[in-house]
């Protein structure tokens, strides 16, 4: 092949959109690394759990929970589904579950600040009080009009995933809520 064309370059989902800062709140893009959805088959869940333990030393996350291991993290992602992030999935997994690459499918951001809860209270309909949704909790829910994955990483920090194509809307919605909260002074 001739080489008439410049090399391809990669672009992140939130390129040009982030960071955003309003008062003491920030939204920044998160580099999640490889992201893979793992989905269990009916009747073979036990072998799938074992494959995950063997391959990554991770337990399959119970609904609404997350787990962490050696450079890898796993988020409950729906009915019989989990999102493995930060590592290339071990080859042994594919024999026991559906494994789909999602590394480029999701825009991932951190919402950080003391009032992070107040911002999400304006966008997310579920109960995110820390007593109910402590650090390490995750949920598939909606953020404004978008479906989203929301994980509490710290008292003042959430990880938010939405479809890549909706990154601009995510930033718009977060920013609008942040500005309204900040304007209360």
């Amino acid at each position: 092949m001739a080489d008439p064309i410049a090399d391809l370059y990669a672009k992140t989902p939130c390129a040009g959109l982030l960071p955003v800062r309003v008062a003491n709140l920030t939204v920044t893009e998160v580099e999640m690394g490889v992201m893979t959805t793992l989905s269990l088959f009916h009747g073979t869940e036990a072998t799938a759990y074992k494959a995950l333990e063997d391959g990554h030393g991770l337990r399959w996350p119970a609904p609404l929970t997350t787990g962490q291991g050696d450079g890898a993290r796993i988020l409950w992602f729906g009915r019989g589904q989990a999102l493995l992030a930060g590592v290339t999935p071990d080859e042994c997994l594919a024999a026991h579950m559906a494994v789909a690459d999602q590394s480029d499918a999701w825009a991932a951001v951190h919402l950080t600040g003391d009032q992070a809860d107040d911002i999400l209270a304006r966008l997310v309909p579920i109960d995110l009080r820390e007593t109910v949704f402590p650090v390490g909790s995750t949920a598939r829910t909606q953020l404004m009009h978008m479906q989203a994955s929301i994980t509490r990483e710290a008292s003042d920090r959430f990880l938010i995933l939405v479809f890549r194509s909706m990154a601009a809307t995510l930033v718009h919605d977060l920013k609008s809520a942040m500005e309204a909260v900040a304007a209360r002074g």
Binding site: I5, K11, F41, A105, A121, R122, D127, S165, A183
Partner: protein, 976 residues
């Protein structure tokens, strides 16, 4: 006027404001109504129907008269209750429903016509001629009768909505609410205390009364300070709880910006959805008036309101006040006024056995039967057994008893219960699951009783939460009995007002009863009582009591109308907060969006996606020029189009093939690895749901594509089929639409072009039509599918989305070197019509596989979702409207989608309808307008001339029925 030494306003902070263009001042802590009364402004509005002068009537959310317009332009807000509007610097307020001014209102002529304008007048008078209602009567009535108006400009204010969660929601912060919140807070429960007022304390702020030896408002401040110090308690002031809904959900409206000078970004209101496990409703009670002739004069107000103006805001609404009551509350008002140094001319007690006083004259066994003074009260007429007398007074306070605020307890269908001792409706137990009514809203009217009731309610709530309830000392407070007299309306001539806001009188209710509108619901609708913005808060009970008297029933038997949310007006903008402008819906952008915009492409919405319509080039003045060029470009050379928006669903598992056999009409389990097949999907009712191609990437691995618009619907359908019809199947699916940026490369030069960018060459032998597999493009791992939606040799190249932007730019640049380039949705649409390919314009939900000529794609070797239902009688009738192509053959060369088809010589009327046009375009390839449509017996009529009529656009054209595949019906081009 202000009363020295009284009130809780901050007298050191003077606040200027304007009412109807006149500058006034008030103090921090004032409401608009207290400030207007302090400035001796008595007339503040005109009534709805008769345009009678009206003054401030209450001090709370039930205010029927003092409605004003705040702000100007897009921010103009009508019907703001002056009693709820806090004073702030820069507040600019106008009165409503008057022309040309409040003092001189020409429409007050309506009042002279009152004998003709009673209940049912409109229904009887404006019935004929029939056409006059819409054209003449209604517009004229609307102009004369009405409240405030919107500006017509788009509202520029920001609104918010938000969610909150708690264990115990306490609604109201009077003595009952504060005790409940204190106990629940000390128990460690998550508590939200919602108070409609700007300040916590409820009636304690309005009364001269002691709790534990200190003034009530100070006791309230102390409790609030303790609550504020608890991390588990959230205090929400200026928040009206507006509705009770299922599963412990409450709507609440917070006034965020109304009480402050406007500043950018500050929301005006926030609409909360509060979800709680237990609720203590401590909403208090609303005082009710007694109806008598001319009881709507400015200067007549509620007795409790008069005390509130005096004790909270240090304002006396008059110089010589009188009080008319049916219970001891009247004495409280007269006592407070007299002790503050205001002249109390008389207290008129309807009872014969009321107490006496040495502070003011008391007239027992008497009634006020008339009031004089058109723009402001001048005197009242008092009727006794011995005769009538006039008393000079500029302000009359009326104490007709208390109506518990039962509204929220009725929001889930329960009716309140009549209590004949209290002469009031009280909440039904467990009317709303998890809600406990306490205090005045529960029919407990002494302060001591309210404190006890609040404490007990919290105890019950904590018990339900399985938490231990801490002991809280009960403070000492008054415990006076409440024994009201049964008096709803004073008999006599003239008009006695019940519903001030909608101008409904005692006569109107009696008239309704006479005309047999005896049900309370009928009376309400016939008279419009309770149907204004105040929802009849201070007139409902009296109106139905009057109805009960008129129909010879008791009140309990008469019953109430239905209390529905919202309790207090909620702006639509608050409920739809965030939905304006860019917040209306998510915008989905492809990875090539920025590059397409740079190329000047106008965007077209496809579902939530934005797709380039066409790519204009120099010299092109219309979209058609660009579109025609792009079509010719693809037909002759090579074009590149972003097709990432099509849904992509990754299916894996040992049963994936069998699952696809179930959801598609065709057979997929036999598809070879490395091959793609076109599939048609039916709904359960047998009609076509969606179409697309599915590729087999591995033995247990398929990739399905859906149309852009139906991606979500198909995903949901697959989940439904899997979970409900085939849960035993070992198959899972995941949306990978967003993972891949996918570009169609189409045209006779497509393969030559691809071989410039692929790392390994592709040939027609290795990559025949419908082949698929992994490739590498410019060093990036990719997937290649040989499929075509244009009828040309076509490929689709997919890369992980991060590479999408740069790959699209590279592909377009290279294609342009070969005489090709990017093409948009318009060209894509033209080419698919030329090929007779369907989109959702054709598969619009009412067509079957038979209708689109794809019956042979429904495999006879297996079952599939929708197959049996598609075989119902009539769904495969030859006479159905079936897919055909159309070409104009007459003088008019225009075909339009949405037009209807008729036999050539038939009248173009409904009964002769034979079909319709679904898609149309100008085909530069065929140099003709072409269209797709559905026609009775379609395929059997090829060659026939039919008539197309577009009644909307006024177009009529003769067209020939042709094969829907206009171009290359053999398909030689795609295989080349």
């Amino acid at each position: 006027m202000r009363v020295p030494g009284k009130g809780l306003v901050e007298r050191s902070r003077v606040v200027p404001f304007r009412f109807d263009g006149v500058q006034y001042t008030g103090y921090e802590g004032d409401t608009l109504s207290s400030a207007l009364l302090a400035n001796d402004v008595r007339m503040v509005g005109r009534s709805f129907k008769y345009h009678r002068p009206r003054g401030i009537f209450t001090a709370g959310n039930e205010e029927p008269n003092a409605l004003v317009t705040v702000g100007v332009g897009g921010r103009q807000e009508p019907n703001v209750r002056a009693t709820m509007q806090e004073l702030h610097e820069g507040l600019e307020v106008r009165s409503q429903n008057r022309w040309p001014s409040l003092g001189l209102d020409l429409l007050s002529v309506n009042d002279l016509a009152a004998p003709f304008l009673g209940a049912g007048f409109y229904y009887k008078t404006f019935m004929w001629p029939r056409a006059f209602w819409e054209k003449l009567y209604e517009p004229a009535i609307r102009r004369a009768a009405g409240l405030g108006a919107l500006s017509g400009a788009s509202n520029t204010d920001v609104y918010e909505k938000a969610h909150a969660f708690c264990d115990v929601l306490v609604i109201g912060s009077g003595p009952a609410g504060l005790m409940a919140a204190l106990r629940a807070g000390r128990a460690g429960a998550d508590v939200i205390l919602a108070e409609e007022d700007s300040r916590f304390g409820g009636r304690l702020l309005a009364e001269e009364e002691a709790i534990d030896g200190q003034p009530g408002h100070q006791w309230a401040d102390d409790v609030v300070a303790e609550l504020r110090s608890m991390p588990n308690v959230r205090l929400m002031s200026r928040t009206s709880v507006t509705g009770a809904y299922d599963q412990g959900t409450y709507g609440a409206l917070e006034r965020v910006g109304h009480h402050r000078r406007r500043r950018p970004g500050l929301p005006l209101e926030c609409f909360w959805r509060i979800v709680t496990k237990q609720t203590v409703l401590a909403a208090g009670a609303l005082e009710r008036p007694v109806a008598f002739r001319n009881n709507d004069r400015p200067g007549i107000m509620m007795a409790g309101a008069m005390r509130a103006y005096l004790n909270r805001w240090g304002v006396s609404p008059g110089k010589a006040v009188t009080v008319f009551g049916t219970n001891d509350n009247a004495y409280r008002t007269a006592r407070d006024m007299a002790q503050a140094g205001i002249h109390v001319a008389a207290l008129i007690d309807s009872r014969h056995d009321g107490p006496s006083s040495d502070l003011f004259p008391v007239i027992r066994g008497a009634q006020v039967c008339d009031a004089q003074g058109r723009r402001g009260l001048e005197s009242i007429t008092v009727r006794r057994a011995s005769g009538e007398e006039r008393i000079q007074t500029d302000c009359l306070a009326v104490a007709g008893g208390w109506n518990p605020t039962v509204h929220l307890t009725c929001h889930m269908g329960a009716r309140p219960v009549w209590n004949d001792e209290l002469l009031a409706f009280v909440p039904k137990d467990d009317a709303v699951p998890g809600l406990i009514a306490a205090g005045a809203c529960n029919g407990v009217f002494s302060t001591d009783g309210c404190l006890r009731d609040g404490l007990a309610a919290a105890g019950r709530a904590l018990q339900a939460l399985e938490r231990s309830a801490p002991e809280v000392d009960l403070p000492e407070a008054e415990d006076a009995p409440y024994q009201p007299d049964r008096l709803w309306a004073v008999s006599g001539k003239g008009r006695a007002w019940l519903d001030f806001q909608n101008d409904v009188t005692v006569k109107d209710v009696a008239q309704a009863a006479r005309e047999n509108f005896r049900s309370v619901e009928h009376m309400k609708r016939y008279t419009t009582q309770g149907m204004a913005t105040d929802q009849g808060k201070n007139s409902n009970v009296a109106a139905l009591a009057v109805l009960a008297d008129a129909t010879g029933r008791d009140v309990a038997e008469t019953g109430t109308t239905t209390f529905r949310p919202p309790f207090t007006p909620v702006s639509i903008a608050a409920m739809g907060a965030g939905g304006q402008g860019d917040g209306f819906a998510p915008e989905r952008f492809t990875t090539s969006h920025a590059a397409s915009k740079e190329m000047g492409a106008p965007m077209i919405e496809a579902g939530l996606w934005y797709r380039p319509s066409y790519f204009p080039r120099n010299g092109e003045r219309t979209w058609r020029q660009s579109c025609d060029r792009e079509v010719n470009m693809v037909r002759q050379s090579v074009g590149v189009c972003d097709v990432s928006t099509l849904g992509k669903i990754d299916l894996q598992g040992p049963d994936a093939g069998a699952f696809l056999d179930l959801v598609y009409t065709g057979m997929f389990s036999t598809l070879k690895v490395g091959r793609t097949r076109y599939g048609l999907m039916l709904r359960e009712d047998g009609h076509v749901m969606d179409d697309g191609t599915t590729a087999r990437l591995g033995e247990n691995h398929f990739l399905m594509t859906t149309t852009t618009a139906a991606a979500g619907e198909v995903m949901r359908h697959l989940d439904f089929v899997h979970q409900c019809h085939a849960p035993q199947m070992k198959v899972r699916f995941a949306s990978v639409t967003e993972q891949w940026a996918q570009f169609a490369v189409a045209g006779p030069k497509a393969r030559d072009f691809l071989n410039l960018v692929l790392d390994e060459l592709v040939s027609n032998v290795d990559w025949p039509f419908m082949a698929c597999g992994p490739v590498s493009v410019l060093g990036v791992k990719a997937r290649l599918f040989r499929i075509s939606f244009s009828g040309e040799m076509g490929y689709e190249l997919a890369v992980p989305s991060r590479w999408g932007d740069s790959l699209f730019r590279a592909l377009v640049k290279e294609a342009e070197k070969m005489g090709g380039g990017a093409y948009g949705m318009e060209a894509l649409n033209v080419m698919r019509i030329e090929k007779g390919f369907i989109t959702h314009a054709e598969i619009h939900g009412r067509v079957t596989a038979f209708d689109i000529g794809m019956q042979r794609m429904v495999s006879q070797k297996k079952d599939c979702i929708g197959k049996r239902m598609s075989e119902r009688p009539g769904l495969m009738d030859q006479g159905r409207a079936r897919l055909v192509g159309l070409k104009p053959v007459g003088a008019v060369k225009m075909l339009t989608a949405g037009a209807h088809l008729y036999a050539r010589d038939a009248d173009p009327v409904r009964v002769n309808h034979q079909g319709y046009v679904t898609s149309n375009c100008y085909s530069p390839t065929l140099e003709s307008v072409i269209a797709l449509g559905f026609l009775h017996y379609g395929p059997e009529r090829i060659g026939e001339t039919v008539k197309m009529v577009d009644h909307v656009r006024g177009i009529e054209a003769l067209c020939e029925v042709v094969n829907p595949v206009f171009l290359d019906p053999e398909g030689g081009r795609v295989r080349g």
